[in-house]
């Protein structure tokens, strides 16, 4: 702290500061229109033309930049080749087989691995990692995909996941280890990771499109940018959490630095690292639909296409296929994380590697039988199920029958909640908001935080995005409030009931493995496009962390304190309000933080259903392949996320300190 921080007891501390700041804001709001118009509309002449600069920089990169004799475009081409080779291999194995173009016709020389063999292999993998139950679950998920006729698309998607995940894990490990070894590297990396994780994916799709061209390779690279940061963070964290004794052991037995890292530290950090691998898988799947905008193909393309055609049945089926893939891969990677290494069995090759032998036998059998019986090679069209017409008619029925009810609900919310709040937010002078954010930063975390919050919010105004940013904030704010208003009571209700919590947790765990697009579809079906639809989708997506953190906070309250409360004769209500909720406050604040992050990431996607906020800017920039606008709008969203995150983290930290709870928030 510096001279700016007033000592305690000084007349101008605490509430006084807030009172002054609020009074200034009010004054500016009421009289500012006439006295200081620039506080409302950021003067055009002072705008920072960031979009133009970024656009020019990227053009320069593609056209002129070079490192000595190697042009930048050569470098991107080399990276693309590096990704493309394994992708083509995986694609050939799973989806296309070995093809050759002869005389304008694709001729398949060798078919891909048959669907029966893939399901068999998946079951073998499941059995290896988690026993019979997992084997059945995984086979069922893949079976579902085959039965609903999504096989080819799903294999295309799986191929890109199979390439993206190892690359993402390896990259995350390398960066994580470097950050753990060299503190300066970590300091340099951290803000970059923050940006990568808070910036909406749409924003960097355009630069990638320009640098790597349209196609699966560019999609894999976008996926990598999205999925690598958590692995990096987890690696650094996991390595720094390895107990000191393990380091001592390594030195006492005389390990070289390399032996220390690979033989002692990384194996000791195995479980958290596997959580990171799981994250990479789930985030890669989350990217499937968005990545299809720059040419990923597969299931994502099917969903996007269906959404554009408003063919909900088809979209739902492809979406559910992604969910099936997500569930199978999620459970599989979790099982691998918890799986112990089995003792080595003596014997021949087959006895020592029964799973490998079974998988190879399955492929061979699939190949041979596939040549004899076509139904084994490719899932027969005749046996396909499709629920698409059913969904289409169901939606039609609901819309016809309940049209008035739905319309009334929507209008009610729009007229009484959304529109008034939107008007209010748009009417606020930007200068006052920047000031208030600065004061909040200063009160919660000192002058550094104040500089950060005020600075970032000023940059949003200075790049001419204030109005759209306010629409983002208003939608995000209302959705977050509603999500918390539902999530916290639900959390309170289930926290103390073990069985209910187990069920709830299973539901929200599954909900979080769903790609965010899946939320959008049924809501668009019922309410069509617009702010209200966006709000419902965001609330549905963001409610999970609100519940989860509330429960976490309530459950981590020291049971001795509750016992003490009961001994003093508190009623259950008093125990809840006086003890549990007070002590759970830091966790609930973190839950709020997460809810906002979820809401923001969903908000960008809702731009597809016609909101008029920053998300839409990003999306429009994508369709026009305009990298500057997209990145600037994306950065503005990232800034909003960073401001909210820093303020709430500081508040949670203060709450923890005030309650005397140890540890970092």
């Amino acid at each position: 702290m510096t001279a700016l921080a007033l000592p305690h007891g000084y007349p101008l501390s605490g509430r006084a500061v807030w009172a002054v700041a609020l009074a200034l804001t009010l004054a500016l709001w009421v009289w500012g229109q006439a006295l200081l118009p620039m506080a409302f509309d950021y003067p055009k002449a002072w705008q920072i033309p960031a979009a133009r600069w970024i656009g020019a920089a990227i053009t320069w990169l593609v056209k002129d930049a070079s490192l000595g004799p190697v042009a930048f475009s050569d470098l991107t081409r080399a990276i693309a080749a590096l990704v493309d080779q394994p992708y083509q291999l995986a694609l050939g194995l799973l989806a296309n087989g070995v093809q050759q173009q002869t005389g304008g016709v694709m001729v398949q020389h060798v078919p891909p691995v048959s669907w029966v063999a893939v399901i068999g292999m998946v079951a073998v993998l499941g059995h290896w990692a988690g026993g019979l139950r997992l084997a059945l679950l995984m086979a069922a998920c893949f079976g579902f995909i085959a039965v609903f006729g999504q096989w080819h698309s799903a294999m295309v998607t799986l191929a890109s996941i199979l390439v993206a995940v190892p690359l993402g894990v390896a990259g995350g490990l390398v960066f994580g280890i470097l950050a753990w070894r060299h503190p300066w590297f970590e300091r340099a990396l951290r803000p970059l990771l923050d940006l990568m994780q808070t910036m909406p994916v749409f924003a960097y799709l355009v630069p990638i499109l320009i640098l790597f061209g349209f196609g699966p390779t560019a999609a894999v690279i976008a996926t990598l940018i999205y999925a690598t940061p958590p692995m990096t963070r987890i690696t650094t964290l996991a390595l720094s959490r390895v107990p000191d004794e393990a380091h001592d052991l390594a030195r006492m037995v005389g390990c070289t630095p390399r032996q220390t890292l690979w033989r002692v530290l990384i194996p000791s950090a195995r479980e958290p690292l596997m959580v990171g691998v799981n994250q990479v898988i789930m985030l890669s799947l989350n990217m499937v639909i968005i990545a299809s905008m720059i040419g990923a193909g597969g299931l994502g393309f099917d969903v996007l296409n269906a959404l554009r055609r408003l063919d909900f049945g088809a979209g739902l089926e492809a979406g559910l296929a992604i969910v099936a893939l997500a569930i199978a891969l999620d459970r599989f990677s979790q099982a691998v994380a918890h799986r112990g290494t089995a003792p080595a069995v003596p014997g021949g090759v087959i006895r020592r590697h029964p799973y490998l032998a079974a998988a190879l036998a399955m492929i061979a059998a699939g190949f041979v039988f596939g040549l004899l019986i076509p139904a084994v090679q490719t899932y027969p069209d005749a046996a396909r199920l499709s629920t698409s017409p059913f969904w289409a008619s169901a939606v039609q029925w609901i819309n016809v029958t309940f049209f008035d009810t739905l319309e009334a609900v929507k209008t009610f919310f729009l007229v009484w909640l959304l529109v008034p709040v939107k008007r209010f937010m748009l009417g606020l002078p930007w200068l006052a908001v920047v000031l208030l954010l600065g004061v909040a930063g200063w009160r919660l975390g000192g002058w550094r935080l104040a500089l950060l919050t005020a600075g970032l919010s000023f940059l949003i105004a200075a790049t001419g995005q204030w109005e759209k940013a306010m629409i983002t904030v208003y939608l995000c704010g209302i959705s977050t409030l509603i999500a918390m208003a539902i999530g916290v009571p639900v959390g309170i209700a289930v926290a103390m009931r073990d069985r209910l919590w187990a069920v709830t947790r299973a539901v929200i765990d599954t909900a979080q493995t769903l790609p965010s697009f899946v939320y959008l579809m049924p809501i668009v079906m019922l309410f069509r496009v617009g702010d209200f639809t966006a709000m419902i989708a965001v609330v549905a997506y963001a409610i999970a962390p609100a519940i989860r953190y509330t429960v976490l906070g309530l459950q981590s309250v020291d049971p001795r304190l509750i016992e003490a409360g009961r001994a003093m004769g508190c009623t259950p209500w008093q125990i809840l309000t006086r003890i549990r909720l007070r002590l759970a406050l830091p966790e609930i604040l973190l839950g709020l933080n997460q809810t906002i992050m979820f809401a923001l990431s969903m908000l960008v996607i809702t731009a597809l259903v016609g909101t008029r906020d920053l998300g839409q800017d990003v999306y429009i920039a994508l369709t026009k392949a305009n990298p500057g606008n997209g990145l600037v709008a994306g950065l503005a969203i990232a800034f909003i996320a960073i401001i909210a995150d820093r303020l709430l983290s500081a508040a949670a930290r203060n709450a923890r300190a005030r309650l005397g709870l140890g540890g970092q928030a």
């Binding site: 107990p243 004794e245 393990a246 001592d248 006492m252 037995v253 005389g254 194996p267 000791s268 195995r270």
Partner: protein, 338 residues
């Protein structure tokens, strides 16, 4: 318990945490307030001690007394700020990192409080790990590891993983691993603190049995004074980073140097620590008197007094050297100083 010449000698060893500790230490070492003002935290202060070949040297202190820091200074896991550490005459503090690695690989073994077993390896691989790191061939190191596993009584559990073992068994693996490379100097950092009392006793017995076969030079860290008394040839008591007193268990009980040491010894049953030699009146021993060696404790003489003897004879190497009277024993046990 015969012990040889000094193997490990510490001279004026300091460990001070803080920025540029070494520069400031020379000027401020005798002035705790000035050290604190410079933001330096002394964890080990001016420690002088020597460990003899084949002896069990226990460093005892409460948490925060600097004992764990000190033992890590001895193997240079933590770099001491100042002083000299001589191991077989070689100053470890001037050794290069490569030399230290060689010494740690071949001359030192360490047992950790929380076992520090590698979770992804079997018992056999864990025990063989130090040898693997040295580059020993698989068959040779596995044979050696099996030998160690047999030594600590875990035969049949080679293929288990650490998480499948109880705490006591895990620490047996830790002990086997620390002995695999046949170290000369054996560090044990609170090896039994994480175990429950019954298992702790069992492993203490096991440890004494091992030492009676192996005759290692041992530095044993503990916060448990009873454990120190039970195991030690000599004990160093640490407080606030400095050694308060070094002596045999008997020395500490009979002649505590400070009130702090006296506080620990108060609850120790003297009969189990004090040896007959300390109570003895030199002189001739009549032939009909029961005889005990000078190294026996007062408690060992109990049965003789209970069966009616008024005095017992004391012998050294079979030679009679004096007598202990029943009154001397009673005065000792009833609280009078010996």
């Amino acid at each position: 318990m015969s012990t040889g010449p000094d193997t490990l000698i510490c001279r004026n060893v300091w460990k001070v945490f803080g920025a540029r500790a070494a520069d400031h230490l020379t000027a401020a070492r005798n002035d705790p307030e000035r050290l604190a003002a410079l933001g330096l935290i002394p964890a080990v202060r001016a420690v002088d001690l020597s460990v003899r070949r084949g002896e069990i040297f226990v460093i005892m202190g409460l948490s925060g007394s600097g004992k764990s820091t000190l033992v890590r200074c001895l193997s240079r896991l933590i770099e001491p700020t100042a002083g000299e550490i001589l191991f077989n005459g070689q100053n470890l503090l001037t050794a290069t990192e490569a030399e230290m690695t060689r010494i740690r690989r071949h001359k030192m073994g360490m047992v950790f409080q929380h076992f520090a077993l590698l979770p992804h390896m079997t018992v056999l691989d864990n025990v063989a790990f130090p040898l693997e790191v040295q580059g020993m061939a698989q068959s040779a190191r596995e044979a050696r590891a099996l030998e160690m596993i047999t030594l600590v009584g875990l035969t049949g559990r080679e293929a288990s993983y650490p998480r499948q073992l109880s705490g006591g068994q895990q620490q047996r693996v830790g002990i086997a691993r620390s002995l695999a490379a046949e170290p000369e100097l054996w560090f044990l950092d609170e090896p039994f603190s994480a175990l429950d009392p019954l298992i702790r006793r069992e492993l203490q017995g096991e440890f004494m049995r091992l030492q009676s076969r192996l005759h290692k030079t041992i530095v044993f860290i503990t916060h448990d004074f009873d454990e120190a008394i039970r195991l030690a040839d000599r004990i160093a008591i640490m407080k606030d980073g400095a050694v308060v007193q070094i002596g045999t268990p008997e020395d500490l009980v009979l002649n505590p140097a400070t009130d702090y040491v006296r506080e620990f010894t108060r609850a120790v049953p003297k009969a189990k620590v004090v040896r007959l030699a300390s109570l003895m009146t030199p002189g001739p021993v009549p032939g009909d008197m029961p005889r005990l060696p000078a190294r026996a404790t007062v408690a060992d003489a109990g049965p003789s007094f209970l069966s009616g003897a008024a005095q017992v004879g004391v012998t050294e190497d079979g030679r009679a050297i004096g007598t202990v009277r029943r009154e001397d024993v009673i005065r000792l046990l009833l609280g009078g100083e010996a």
